[in-house]
Amino acid sequence: MTSMERVVAALQGTKTDRRAFTMTLSLYGAKLTGCPLTEYYTVPEKYLEGQIAVAEKCRPDIIFTPFALALEAQAFGSEIVFIPHDAPNVRKPFLRNLNDIDKIKLPDIEHDKSFLYIRTTSQLLADHFKGKVPICGVLTSPMDLPAIIMGVDGWLELLLFDRKKTATIISLMSEYFISMANSLFHSGINFLAMPMMFTNPHLVFEKTITDTVVPALADMFRQLKGPIVFHHGGNPLAEYLQHYQSLPNVGGFVLDPHDSFTEARKNVGENRLLLGNLDGPSLGKISPSRSIEKARKILDNRRGDKHFIFATSAADVAWDTPMETITGIYELMQQYGES
């Protein structure tokens, strides 16, 4: 089977030759090719080279477009910083005064350099892997993007205490997100993963989620031309899945490393796709044998679950993750034959 067939089978719940798996190896591609990160995250061809190396050496069943959410904030005017051995981060949010929200303008989606990089990279990956390996686009959730444009405190302040300005921002984010996401689908990505933070009761009140966040997301998601993978965004998700069950176009959920799959299944039923939950960023701190043992436990737990893809959770797999960990996990998948 090809990776594409394996992933589609997990979505449909049909038999596969082995368990489909992926690791978030967006950053790791730069390590494999020795590419400076300032080039890797600005030159689409360099990113493609990195992901070709990932495909050859790590053989995941899903390849990711750049996991570099700060690039979107940059397009909205925030300053970013390149960090050694990590994806770029936001150095300085664009907006410091909430009275100035009118200054937030929709960037030119066709020509802005950050968007051009993300879209061109998606196109190159889709062309290269030509339907054999699914390409997962990565974008910031439209409900989180304001936090990297105006700071977490600014966005919280609006969400909690200023409905009018919140509506203005959501409207702008919606316009951006629908255009950008659909342009990525047009470029050839197969689905879109989004870490979701201001959607989670660990960050905001449940009433904010039910009254504001979920209705806004539902409106946006139904206008998309492809499926979404709802990523836990660094917080436990399993116990809250009922909030997101009815969101249109959501193909699956990536769980947090601390989540229970049993609890998640109880909340979403047996037929929704679940992914995760090996902690990717921690793989650089533990030995290959320990990482593989953790992976084995997850696989044992999910034995017989036809709608499950083994994956890393949280952010990118850490730069200093030993190659033996990654190859060891690939080899482990061969032991978990037909699912």
Binding site: I83, D153, L160, H202, L203, V204
Partner: protein, 225 residues
């Protein structure tokens, strides 16, 4: 249950529900029979301590913590106005200096630390974002502060905190001026606090008043008044 205990319980409940106006009304009603400073001491401070414990247990959300900060901020403004009208109730502790380190613009944690310190009676000079080592130490010397509290969100900016330590050493102020460090990166990498020369750190903004008490004591022991 006493009236004070009942008021505290109700206040926790409304803060955790995000009802900022109800929380303010509750405190206004209590303060009507005494003062806002007394309401702060009797009601809000113990409530913040309890909410801080809930934060440490990860049983409340960021938004709930934020609302607690906003209610505290509202109270501080009322205490300030009350102080003007009654010719001055001054903060009892401090002064201390806080800010985000050079090149750091992620202000949520620092703002909450500043509010919770003031709620606990500290006089705080909040220098804002992107503060250089020299600016921190100059302000501490100018105001007689014995603690500088420095916040950083990312590993790269946290490393700039080392410059504050260097500046304290260069001016022979280590010991007298204690360096408190905090921010998201210190939760992920606790060893970083020592690496950048910090004298102490707290796991959350709610725990900052306790840390500052300890560091103030330490400063007085090392360099008495």
């Amino acid at each position: 249950m006493t009236n004070v205990e009942q008021t505290r319980m109700t206040l926790i409940d409304v803060i955790l529900k995000g009802e900022r106006e109800q929380a303010n009304t509750l405190l206004d009603n209590y303060a009507a029979s005494c003062s806002y400073r007394v309401a702060m001491n009797d009601i809000l401070e113990p409530v913040l301590e309890q909410i801080g414990n809930m934060w440490a247990e990860e049983s409340i959300s960021l938004a709930q913590g934020y609302v607690a900060g906003k209610v505290s901020e509202d109270m501080l403004l009322k205490i300030f106005n009350e102080g003007i009208n009654t010719a001055g109730i001054q903060p009892e502790k401090g002064p201390v200096v806080v800010g985000n380190i050079e090149d750091d613009y992620h202000s949520l944690g620092r703002k909450l630390v500043s509010v919770f310190l003031q709620s606990a009676g500290w006089k705080v000079f909040d220098l804002g974002n992107d503060v250089t080592a020299g600016e921190f130490v100059d302000k501490a010397v100018e105001t007689g502060a014995r603690i500088i509290g420095v916040s950083a969100m990312m590993y790269t900016t946290a490393q700039n905190i080392g410059k504050v330590r260097d500046e304290l050493v260069r001016r022979k102020l280590s010991g007298r001026i204690q360096l408190a460090v905090g921010g998201a990166v210190f939760k992920i990498r606790p060893e970083l606090a020592r690496e950048v020369g910090g004298d102490g750190t707290a796991s959350s903004c709610f725990k900052a008043p306790g840390l500052f008490e300890e560091l103030w004591e330490k400063s007085l022991k090392e360099v008495p008044l």
